[in-house]
Amino acid sequence: MERKVYLDNAAATPVRKEVIEEMMPYFDREFGNPSTVYDLGSRVKAVIDEQRAKVAELIGARPEEIIFTSGGTEANNLAVKGIAFAHRKKGNHIIVSAIEHHSVLNSARFFERLDYEVTFLQADEYGLVDPNRLKELIRPETILVSITHASNEIGTIEPLAEIAEVCKENNVFFHTDAVATVGNVPVNVKELGVDLLSLSGIPLRAPKGTGALYFRKGLRLMPLMHGGIQESGRRGGTENVPGIVGLGKAAELAKAEIPAKVSHVKALRDKLVNGVLEKIEAVKYTGHPENRLSGHASFCVQAIEGEALVFMLSSHGIYANTGSACASKALKTSPVLVAIGVPAELAQGSIVFTLDINNTEEDIDYVLEKLPPVVDRLRAMSPLWGKAKPQAA
């Protein structure tokens, strides 16, 4: 039987067995609505608050600073829209980096349709945002800065503490999308100095459709979902109790395991990167070479389509990603790669590998065995190959 090597852990992860076990009672035995006053509900409400404390503990927050959401996208929407709407009287200018996830970019663009202005802050060729450039862009009417902790597409970890300092000096709220980092590297909201932080259950191996927004105590935030008293009136709607329990358990387990995960995936990632760059010509390693997620390797392969590469690798049991829905579904150039100056033609060949604790050295050997001939086959069919050889390396 052919080997299966799963290296798309930024997109989805298998839920941990301990997490599934913890969730099970909340599908049937403990099914009560947490908002009810009788014991079936109040017990579940207490369990939700225990999970809130576990998620808070993972990122160095207080339990009351956590709002459970349906994932990273909702958390990002709540952060950007919640601040922009709640603080309109203070100003109407928002700054986001050009390498944000669509849930931040499109939330910001939504405000361009209202009476707000949005500035898209460029990153350098490694995907790093410059805090000094940010300082120049902040105006008296700026209310929010949103810069990702790390892009899932290029893996670069941003200098958040320095950015937070700039925001604090200028009395501007600072949000970070930490979907790619929480669960993959140690994250502490107080050390980072952020006012809001989005996280997802996926890197924690919690169920899909789970996540949370950290918001600093005392911050005013306009809810996206108006409804009842859930999440202290900041997110109406009956809670996804099994999902929240899964997220809490996964957060609790992750806290102690992150350092070991970091060193394990980093060794494998380095082997993968060195192997790819050695065995395949005309490949660009995107993102920062050192300041990046330890289990993240992203490349642009000259003269081929990333989507075709992902598809052909999957026929060998290797699962990777193009890194961007623009490239894989809309056949458009990834805005993140464009923002860091990758030529459009080269950006088409984007491929991203995201590793997890379950990956092994044999997995990487297998990828390094199968990837070069797949690239050769695709290049043999490419009208671009030959013309463009020297550009990428």
Binding site: A86, G218, L221, M222, P223, I229, S232, G233
Partner: protein
């Protein structure tokens, strides 16, 4: 409606951007942690609170001091009279 100015509060509850029934739930929780005679300031932009909070104070035996209109919200003041803040006497022992 009784309007007041420059009331000194011992604690503040910010409910701006939040709606019914939070303005009737969180004051009770907050008052439960305060001492008799202390003043709670409630910040809200929910119009319904202007009627609801004085009437909630009546029901729960708390003293509604008055309201001040601020630039972006209302400030409502309650003096804690007794009990847990929700009208129920505290039980010791």
């Amino acid at each position: 409606m009784k309007f007041v100015k420059d009331i000194k509060a011992d604690d503040t509850l910010d409910l701006v951007c939040r709606m019914c029934p939070l303005h009737l739930l969180e004051p009770g929780e907050k008052l439960a942690c305060m001492k008799e005679g202390q003043v709670l300031e409630i910040l809200t932009d929910y119009d319904g609170a202007l009627e609801d909070i004085p009437s909630w104070c009546d029901k729960c035996g708390q003293e509604f001091i008055g309201i001040e209109e601020d630039e972006d919200c209302y400030k409502l003041y309650i003096r804690k009279k007794k009990g847990n803040g929700d009208g129920k006497e505290s039980v010791s022992g």
